[in-house]
Amino acid sequence: MSDGRPARRASISGAVGEDHTVQPEEVQPVQLLTPEGKLAENEVYSPFIAELSAEKLRELYRYMAMERRLDAEATSLQRQGQLALWAPALGQEAAQVGTIAAIKSSDMVFPTYREHAMALYRGISPEELLTMFRATRHTGWDPREHNFHVYTLVLASQTLHAAGWAMGIKQDRRTDSVPRDRAEDEIVVACIGDGATSQGDAHESMVFAASYELPLLYFIQNNHWAISVPTRTQSRGPLVNRAKGYGFEGVRVDGNDVLASYAVASKLSGDIRAGSGPKLIESVTYRMGAHTTADDPTKYRSSEEEELWKGRDPIARYRSWLSSAGHADEGFFAEVDAEYKDLAADMRKSVLALEPIDLDRVFDTVYSEPHRQVETEKAWLKDYEAGFAEEQTEAGTAG
């Protein structure tokens, strides 16, 4: 450390059972709503909230609740053998909804594989969202239609895609050739998790973003756990400090506070749009569920820790403020619940009806024109598939 202080040691072996929610050299995250649901004043960020209509405030709640309901249904579907995998976003609704609501629909977003609330906000349907998890399509939506890139499972590689996209924007503006279907003031959001920030791709992306002063907002959701590795094992200081190293600004925000998430993203995206170059948000939140349905968090974290974060539930916090501030009544919440119960039932039906991926299509879309080698391989695979012994008819769980 340059300031001569000895680095605070946190041993990996002693990590389990400790409080992972406290980072060394704590940087207080921006918070507007206290966990008790009281609104605090903040000179920089409060004005962004003051602009929001009651309807917009209720909309934020709607998308958070929608994500949570969809998440529960998807988890059940996976447990019933109807999805290959599901990566829950449970607990991260405020971070995602607050951020996506603060940018323009013309801004390109590069998600990881957990940005369900952001996808829903961009108009992607639950069914489209689940096709990849049911392995019936490589992706369920057209990225251009929603300005929302496909889910990327290779950790942090989307940060490079985002930097590339942002370089394209920069180039288009320099040559005065912004395509007609792209906005003049477009910026790019690169989503990334705390664990993936350790990937080399994240570093390369940030170096390029800084060097080229790209219109790029890094949105780190620090949910405290990279599968079973606590954040502080990978980052001894707050992740937000990394931005400084690359030479741009980073802001730490309470990711379980949808209003703070909205305000911080509004402020930074506005700065980027005004030509500031890249910015970074470290959104401090918590993955209340498992990493994926193939993970068992009880094996590496304590129930005390989970209870602590249950008390910071982003939806409960926001709901209590909405009612106390008079922006929504019980009728609204009941209506939302009923609406999403139907949505879940519809989603279950449509997901069960999804057809498996068509192998022909996989080959036929490699090149735009027929290709002899691809044809050979396609024929080979068909022959190979035909060479299996007949299986007993599967007793379908769907009945």
């Binding site: 019933q80 193939a294 080698q373 060479g387 299996f388 009945g399």
Partner: protein
């Protein structure tokens, strides 16, 4: 009608799960997504929500039972429908039995038992009010609980392969229009495609195809036997050179005469197939299992000492001339055995077995003798070797060696060794680091006895010299103790008079 919820794969590629706790009972009403059972996979404890609403009519597995993915778990009848009547019950109960993977072979299973017999048994149980079917009852005890993996660790289940009815040719590259003779597999039928795919990457396979090299005949020089570009190119070059020099006929060319090609002409070491797979069985298999277990679990430490055994060789000659030893093998091994017993008495910890939480000291010595036989390595044991006098021990060693060579050593005679000897001197070797037999903490290696210049009282004189060494279980035996033990054995070999009490 009742709907069946089969055990899904709740992880990524899991093949089985154990039923831990039922959260519902027969007759209970459930809604979609109600948690009905808790299961444990290799990865995690998982609560399963039911995909149907209705009344539970059957729980198809017992708590503690391990089911394969796809096996029926629970049956739900839509609300308002009666529980299955007597007519449909047997068929419903027979269904799991018909799913072969779901039913592990049970010990009491008779080969002749038909499916209908199972169905009848199941039906009978059903009439008795049993909730679980035959498959559930006959399932073996669940295996010991898997070591818990943290989070999404590597999957622990072995992959299940679908059965194939025929092989598919590894013809992955389209060569139409290229002037190349494609290699045909020798002896008809390709090797397992999966094997080729595993050993050679697509670009390497494509290269082999282009160069007319039969990739399945190559021996990979890369990591884990991977076939590399070099392997392919080398083979192609060789073929080209051989063809140019007329050594090997081009494919399709008529064979010149009927003369049998020599191994040299065929580019082989000796007459025989280029590669041959030999089934591992018997002694080879047991040896492989034992040395693997020992070498991977026991930290070995080895020590050596070169010693003047002239006096032992003189004593040996004296005994050989003694009529009471007539017909008995009087070898350096005999004196080494006596020396080991003497040294083990002074160093009890070498004669012991390690058990992690404790170790067992043996106040007796069962001496294992490693013997090379035509069937492979066997280690017959002289039980209670410390109780024999010298002549008795010589007789026991003689008999044991004969039995081993003739393959008459019984399994019982190979059990229970506490310390072993391996006589690598008979192979003309001086020393080595033997691997410990299972359950033993010490093995002594005897080198060859050689005439060597040796310094005795300041003079260089020819003496009989051998190297005595051994391997020890380092968890139990420090270098210090191993050294003292081998030094004691060596001391007796140098001064056999020490054996006289």
């Amino acid at each position: 009608m009742a709907e069946t919820f089969n055990l899904p794969d709740v992880g990524e590629g899991l093949t089985e799960a154990e039923v831990v706790t039922w959260r519902t009972t027969v007759g209970a009403t459930v809604e979609v997504n109600d948690i009905v059972v808790e299961i444990e996979t290799a990865k995690s404890l998982v609560e399963l929500p039911v995909p149907f609403a209705g009344v539970v009519t059957e729980l198809l597995a017992a708590e503690g039972e391990t089911l394969e993915v796809g096996a029926p778990l629970i049956r739900i009848a839509a609300e308002g429908e009666a529980t299955p009547d007597a007519g449909s019950a047997p068929e419903a109960a027979a269904e799991p039995a018909a799913q072969e993977p779901a039913e592990p072979p049970a010990a009491e299973e008779k080969p002749g038992r038909s499916r209908s017999a199972r169905a009848k048994k199941s039906a009978a149980q059903k009439r008795e009010g049993a909730e679980r079917d035959a498959a559930a009852r006959e399932a073996p005890e669940s295996p010991a609980q898997n070591e818990a993996l943290v989070g999404s660790g590597p999957k622990a289940d072995s992959a299940v392969r679908r059965t194939r009815t025929r092989s598919t040719s590894p013809d992955l590259v389209d060569l139409e229009g290229l002037d190349i003779a494609s290699p045909a597999p020798a002896g008809g039928g390709y090797p397992d495609i999966a094997d080729i795919v595993a050993r050679a990457s697509p670009p390497v396979r494509a290269l082999a195809k282009r160069l007319g090299v039969a990739v399945w005949e190559l021996v990979g020089s890369g990591r884990n036997g991977q076939i590399t570009r070099d392997d392919v190119e080398r083979q192609a070059r060789q073929k080209l050179e051989q063809r140019a020099s007329g050594q090997v006929p081009a494919p399709g060319a008529p064979a010149p005469g009927r003369r049998k090609t020599t191994p040299e002409e065929a580019g082989l070491l000796y007459d025989g197939p280029r590669e041959e797979n030999i089934q591992v069985r018997g002694v080879r298999k047991a040896t492989a299992r034992n040395v693997t277990a020992s070498a991977t679990t026991v930290p070995h430490v080895s020590v050596f000492k070169e010693v003047d055994v002239t006096r032992t060789m003189e004593l040996r000659q004296a005994l050989k001339n003694d009529p009471s030893y007539a017909g008995l093998s009087v070898s350096p091994m005999l004196f080494a055995a006596k020396a080991i017993i003497w040294a083990a008495r002074r160093n009890p910890q070498v004669n012991a077995t390690w058990h992690d939480t404790h170790y067992t000291l043996r106040n007796y010595l069962n001496l294992g003798i490693a013997a090379a036989t035509p069937r492979g390595l066997v280690v017959p044991v002289i039980h209670e070797a410390h109780a024999f006098n010298t002549r008795g021990l010589a007789a026991a060693l003689t008999q044991l060696t004969i039995d081993a060579r003739e393959g008459r050593t019984t399994p019982g005679e190979m059990q229970g060794g506490t310390v072993s000897i391996t006589n690598i001197g008979s192979l003309g070797l001086d020393s080595g680091t033997p691997i410990l037999p299972p359950g033993q903490a010490s093995i002594v290696a005897l080198g060859a006895v050689r005439k060597k210049p040796w310094v005795v009282e300041g003079q260089i004189v020819p003496r009989d010299v051998m190297v005595i060494g051994g391997s020890f279980d380092h968890r139990l035996i420090d270098g210090d103790l191993a050294g003292r033990f081998i030094s004691d054995v060596a001391a007796v070999m140098e001064q056999p008079g020490l054996l006289i009490d």
